[in-house]
Symmetry: C2
Subunit: 351 residues, 2 copies
C-alpha cells in the first residue's frame, strides 16, 4: 500500500535484517524499525511495535529465519528449538505466529542448507500472506453494496498483514471500483488501534470514515445506521468460533439483535484445525497499564502517555475475546466465503 | 459521603453561591467550584464541571434560584423565563434538569416572595435527591447476595447525585452491612467517568474493584464472571425504555444473552411520564474532541489532554443511548423495585 505516495509492506527482510513499520508510533510518526536478530524481533512482537494477525505471522517467520542464521553450527538444533519456544510466547493467541514459526522450523531443520531454506520459507510465508489478503479482498467485495455503511473493530487493514489486510481488503476493493462506502471505526480501547491505525489507513486511501467510541457501536446499530460489520480474526477454531480483539463479541451480539450481517475475514492460516472450540483458545492477558494509561500527542506534538484513570486503581486487560460461530454470518477466506461450521471449515482447509 | 475524612455533598448552596465538587478535575485533584450567577452555573453544567443525573438536577434548580435572585424587579417574569430556556439547553437528555428547573420556576413565579420561594424549592429538591438516593440504596440492597461480582457503567455513584448515588447506593449499603462485593468498573469512554469517577468513589469507600476496558464487559459476562449489572438512568420513558450513558445498551443486550440480571436504579424524578417511548428521547451529541482526545495526568502530575486518534479524523459522539425495557430486569426506585412496564410506572409515579 502507499504511504505518502511510496509503496510499502508492513514487514519485510533486507539481508538478515527484519524491517517493519513501527506501529507503536503511528499515526503520529511514520518510521521503519530494523531488527538485526531474532530476540530483538521477538521483543518487537511482544511489545506490539509490530502487531496484527498476519504481520505477526510474517515477522515471527522472519524471526525464526534469523534464529537459523544466528545458530552456532555445532548446536543448531538446540538453538533453533529454544528460539522457536521463545517466539511462541510473545503473543499466545495469534494463530499465524505458530503457523509461520512451525513452517519455517519444519522446512529448514533437516534440510541441506537450513539457513537458506529458513529464509526462503519465511519470505514465502510473507508473500502468501499478501496474496491471500488480496484474494480475501476479491471474494469479500461481492458482499459490499453501493452506499454501504460499514462498522469495523480494531485494525484488520493492511497494517495488520503484510499488505492489503483482511477486514479492510474488501472495502478497499469496493472503493477502488467506485462504490460509495463509509466506515465507522471503533476506537478499540485499550490500545485504540481503530482510532490510531484504521483511521490512519483509511485516510491514506481517501475512504470517508468517522471514529466512534466503542460504547457507541450498538447505538448506531439500533438506529439502523450500520449495514454490516466486518472484522478480522486472530484464531479460528474448527467449529467456527473466532478469537479476535476484545470487544468483537459485544459487536457480534448486538449485530444479531438488529439483524445486521456480521462478517469475519481471515486467511486459511488463521484456522486452527487442532482447536475444537473457542473456549480452548488461550486468551492473552496484557499489562494493566494499557488500560490505565492512554498515549497520544500533546499540543506540542510530543508523544506522551497520560494516566487516564483514578490513581491507585488496578485493571483487567484481556486482549481478545471469543465470538461463538452462531453470531457470525460468514467467514471470508482466501479460498472463498464459507459458513462458520465444522464441515465447511474442514472442507476448505483440506483443499 | 466522606472525602479524605470530611463530609461532602456533590452540590450545595452557600448564600447566593452555588458550590460543587469540580468533577472535571477528579480523580486527580479535589477542588470546590463556586459559581456566583446562573449563567456561570449553566456553563458549568454544559461543560460537565458538574455532571450526573441528580447532581445536574440539583445544580439546575440552584441555577434557577440564582436567576430569580438576579432578575431586575420590573422584568422578573421575562428574565426568569429566558433563564429557564437557557438552562434547559445545557444538557438536553437529562430528565432531572427539566424536573428541577420547572419545579423551582412554577413554585416561585407567582408567589409573594419569588426569590425566597425559589431558593427554598431548590434546596428542597437537593434534599429530596439525597433522600431518594438513600432509599434506592435500601431497596436495592435486597438484590445483592454475599460474594457478588457486579458490573457498573459510567458513574451513578454519589458524585452523580447530591449524595449516596443510585446504581452504587445499594452496593454501598451491601458493603457497609458486611457483604463481600467486587465491582468491575467499565472505563466508560469517551470521557472515562467509570475509570475516573466511579473508581475514585469506590476507592474512598474501600470497596474492591477493577477497571475494565468497555470492550471487555461482554467477555467477562461470557465467562460467568458477572453476577449482575447495575446502572443509573438519565431519563426513563413511560414504557420503561431507559436513556443512559452511551454503552449501556450494549451491556444490556449482552446481559440478556448470558441470562445476567440487568438493573437500572433511578429516583422517580428521572421518570418522564410525558415521554411515551425511548425513541422520543432527544440524544445529546457532544463535541467530537471528547472522542479524539483523552485527558489524564503526565508523570509530572500535570493534567493534560492528548490527541489519541489519527490527526485529521472526525468522530461521532452521542452521549447517551436508549435501552429498551425488554432488556431490563427491574428498576430500583426510591419507592420500591418495579418492573419496567407502563402500568407499574404509571402506578408508582401517581403515588
Amino acid at each position: 500500500m502507499k504511504v505518502n505516495g511510496n509503496d510499502y509492506r508492513t514487514v519485510w527482510m533486507e539481508g538478515s535484517t527484519v524491517c517493519f513499520i513501527e506501529q507503536n508510533l503511528l499515526p503520529f510518526e511514520f518510521r521503519i524499525y530494523r531488527s538485526d536478530n531474532y530476540l530483538e524481533t521477538s521483543k518487537a512482537i511482544k511489545s506490539m511495535k509490530i502487531r496484527g494477525a498476519g504481520a505477526i505471522g510474517a515477522a515471527a517467520g522472519f524471526a525464526m529465519a534469523q534464529a537459523f542464521a544466528e545458530a552456532p553450527e555445532n548446536e543448531l538444533q538446540e538453538f533453533v528449538y529454544r528460539a522457536k519456544q521463545s517466539i511462541y510466547t510473545t503473543r499466545p493467541t495469534a494463530r499465524n505466529l505458530y503457523y509461520a514459526v512451525d513452517r519455517v522450523f519444519n522446512k529448514a531443520l533437516n534440510s541441506i542448507d537450513p539457513q537458506r531454506e529458513a529464509l526462503k520459507e519465511a519470505h514465502k510465508i510473507a508473500e502468501e500472506d499478501a496474496l491471500s489478503s488480496l484474494r480475501i479482498g476479491k471474494f469479500g467485495e461481492e458482499l459490499i453494496q453501493d452506499k454501504s455503511r460499514i462498522l469495523t473493530h480494531c485494525n484488520a487493514g493492511w497494517l495488520a498483514f503484510v499488505d492489503h489486510g483482511t477486514a479492510l481488503s474488501p472495502v478497499y476493493n469496493a472503493f477502488h471500483h467506485g462504490k460509495d462506502v463509509f466506515v465507522y471505526v471503533d476506537e478499540t480501547k485499550p490500545r485504540g488501534q481503530g482510532a490510531k491505525l484504521t483511521a490512519w489507513e483509511l485516510q491514506q486511501v481517501g475512504i470517508p470514515y468517522k471514529i466512534i467510541p466503542d460504547n457507541a457501536a450498538a447505538h448506531l446499530m439500533s438506529l439502523g445506521q450500520i449495514d454490516f460489520v466486518i472484522v478480522g480474526a486472530d484464531r479460528i477454531a474448527v467449529n467456527g468460533d473466532v478469537a479476535n480483539k476484545i470487544g468483537t463479541l459485544s459487536r457480534a451480539i448486538a449485530a444479531r439483535e438488529y439483524n445486521i450481517p456480521f462478517y469475519v475475514a481471515a486467511p486459511l492460516s488463521t484456522f486452527d484445525i487442532d482447536c475444537i472450540q473457542g473456549s480452548d483458545i488461550i486468551i492473552e492477558e496484557r499489562p494493566q497499564e494499557e488500560v490505565l494509561f492512554t498515549s497520544g500527542i500533546t499540543i506540542n506534538g510530543k508523544l506522551t502517555s497520560v494516566l487516564s484513570s483514578a490513581p491507585g486503581s488496578s485493571a483487567y486487560n484481556p486482549a481478545f475475546d471469543i465470538t461463538p460461530a452462531k453470531f457470525i454470518t460468514a467467514i471470508i477466506t482466501d479460498k472463498g466465503i464459507i459458513q462458520p461450521d465444522e464441515s465447511a471449515i474442514r472442507d476448505i482447509t483440506r483443499q
